[in-house]
């Protein structure tokens, strides 16, 4: 796991429900941090449903091996944003990963120990929904590296909010600090706990074709989250 030592900050994205926009938030946050001049890594540990490669239009790319380990797939020429996902290891995009817990755990451990992130400042980890094998494994293995914390993503509905309460309990039990909660798809931009991201046609269309979007309300929200993350960092001793 020494390779993770070169990473300055580790942020885990969590949510109880699927489809609340974890991957969307992870991708936009990575782009926003890069826009502020940081070197960012994005690790997708959703093994059964990896969405990150498609959102960066990296479908079909594969991972390269170097003496230091696996090289992430870079989104840009400057290599400021690197991505690692099981999607890059599949031969066919439609292939299903039909694995029980132990195999998923082994794969995630390998992702955490073998990827050569090269002085990445922010590593964002996108997780599948729930509080099970993937999450327990990530938390157990990150503990030694003192991760910055978790960002919880939710939507305004009670059902999804209910799941966030469970996710908060999970963070408390596993001892990971909660950086904040992002409310996604907040239709009418009501301010809430951390920051709300409105539903935006441009954003969902942009992600469909793997293009960066520049819609004002969404980007403002994301940029502010990124700024607050960087500020948070300055406050720390």
């Amino acid at each position: 796991m020494e390779r993770l030592q070169s990473v300055h900050h580790v942020i885990v994205i969590l949510s109880g429900k699927g489809g609340v926009g974890k991957s969307t938030v992870a991708v936009q946050l990575a782009l926003a941090l890069r826009a502020q001049g940081r070197k960012v890594g994005l690790l997708d540990v959703d093994l059964c449903g990896p969405s990150i490669p498609h959102m960066f239009k990296l479908d079909g790319q594969s991972v390269h091996q170097c003496p230091e380990g696996w090289l992430p797939v870079y989104v840009d020429k400057e290599q400021k944003l690197g991505v690692m996902s099981i999607g890059f290891l599949l031969e066919n995009n439609d292939d299903a990963i039909i694995w029980r817990g132990p195999k998923k755990t082994a794969m995630i451990k390998q992702f955490l120990s073998d990827v050569h992130w090269q002085n990445t400042e922010y590593l964002i980890i996108d997780t599948p929904p729930g509080t099970s094998d993937e999450h327990i494994t990530v938390m157990e293995n990150l503990r030694a590296f003192n991760p910055d914390g978790a960002i919880l993503v939710t939507t305004p509905q009670a059902v999804a909010v209910g799941d966030v309460r469970r996710e908060l309990t999970f963070c408390r039990k596993t001892g990971i600090p909660v950086i904040g909660i992002i409310e996604n798809m907040s239709g009418y931009q009501v301010p809430s706990l951390f920051r709300c991201i409105p539903i935006d046609l441009q954003l969902s269309q942009g992600l469909e074709i793997g293009k960066e979007v520049s819609s004002a309300p969404v980007m403002d929200a994301i940029q502010e989250v990124a700024k607050r993350l960087i500020m948070l960092d300055k406050d720390l001793p």
């Binding site: 059964c48 990963i97 509080t131 094998d133 327990i136 539903i199």
Partner: protein, 277 residues
């Protein structure tokens, strides 16, 4: 096994979305309820059970009796079982690895006393892992009717749903059909349609055609469904004028037709039909 799964079972393989995802299961159940069929809903999303909230029974507890665990009854012909009924409160998290989840699923199948049921709907978490493998494995000796696969129109969702159909094919679970949810959004004020999740690659219908599985229909995004789910009300009874209601009724009819056709062909095959005649 002590389960009395009478006529049919429908396994619901669902993919990546929030609570509206489970809405179809509960709506399905509520519709069946209206037509006086006996329906059970089993929620095997161990880490994120939503069914109790959607059905408006989040404060209920499971009762133990001599014949096993009693499910929670919404009405005399609609019963529900979920890990949510075993938790202390809404903030209680189930932080379990696979084997414990599988143990509970087994217990649900073995110990819940459903009585006589026409349909058992099983709501699954997203993914193709422990819960999905276990449920198919444990029910392999029963007559599983098949899986209903849910998707939303955009490619990001379809990528995962293709994997889900692949999963069904690999484990030999028939796909009853694909339902596309959140197809269009009809503004409740101006009645204007908009595609919040654009079907850039043809949506659920094209995907179903690609895999040669039936396409059961589209459900529009209606904020009133979400509201009813949050409040645990029956959407079909509260908002009768919504296009979603009609679309839903049609989808249910297709599923029921499929199940009864399967059943009669099964009976012909085994000679059961002759006995009765």
């Amino acid at each position: 096994m002590r389960v009395n799964i009478a006529l049919a079972q429908v396994v619901n393989q669902q993919e990546r979305w929030q609570h509206v995802k489970v809405a179809p299961t509960s709506l399905c159940a509520l519709l069946c309820q209206r037509s006086q069929t006996k329906v059970g809903v089993l929620d095997i999303d161990i880490c994120g059970p939503s069914i109790p909230t959607i059905m408006g029974v989040q404060n209920e507890q499971v009762h133990h009796s001599a014949s096993g665990w009693s499910p929670v009854y919404i009405s005399n012909n609609l019963a529900v079982m979920s890990v949510g009924f075993l938790l202390k409160g809404p903030e209680d998290a189930v932080i379990w690895r696979g084997p414990r989840k599988n143990g509970l699923i087994k217990q649900f199948l073995r110990d819940v006393d459903w009585g006589q049921l026409d349909y058992l709907l099983i709501d699954t978490p997203p993914g193709t892992s422990d819960e999905h493998l276990s449920i198919v494995q444990y029910l392999s000796q029963t007559q599983l009717d098949g899986a209903i696969v849910l998707t939303t129109p955009q490619e990001v969702s379809l990528i995962d749903v293709r994997k889900e159909i692949n999963f069904c094919q690999r484990v030999g679970l028939p796909v009853i059909g694909v339902v596309e949810n959140m197809s269009i959004f009809i503004c409740p004020k101006c009645k204007k349609d908009s595609y919040i999740f654009p079907p850039s690659t043809g949506g659920g219908e094209k995907m179903a055609a690609d895999f040669r599985v039936p396409f059961l229909g589209r459900l529009p995004l209606d904020s009133r469904i979400g509201k009813c789910c949050d409040e645990g009300k029956s959407f079909l009874e509260e908002v009768t004028d919504s296009p979603a209601t009609q679309a839903f009724v049609q989808i249910i009819h297709k599923i029921q037709a499929h199940c009864s056709q399967e059943q009669s062909s099964r009976e012909t095959e085994t000679g059961e039909a002759m006995d009765e005649g």
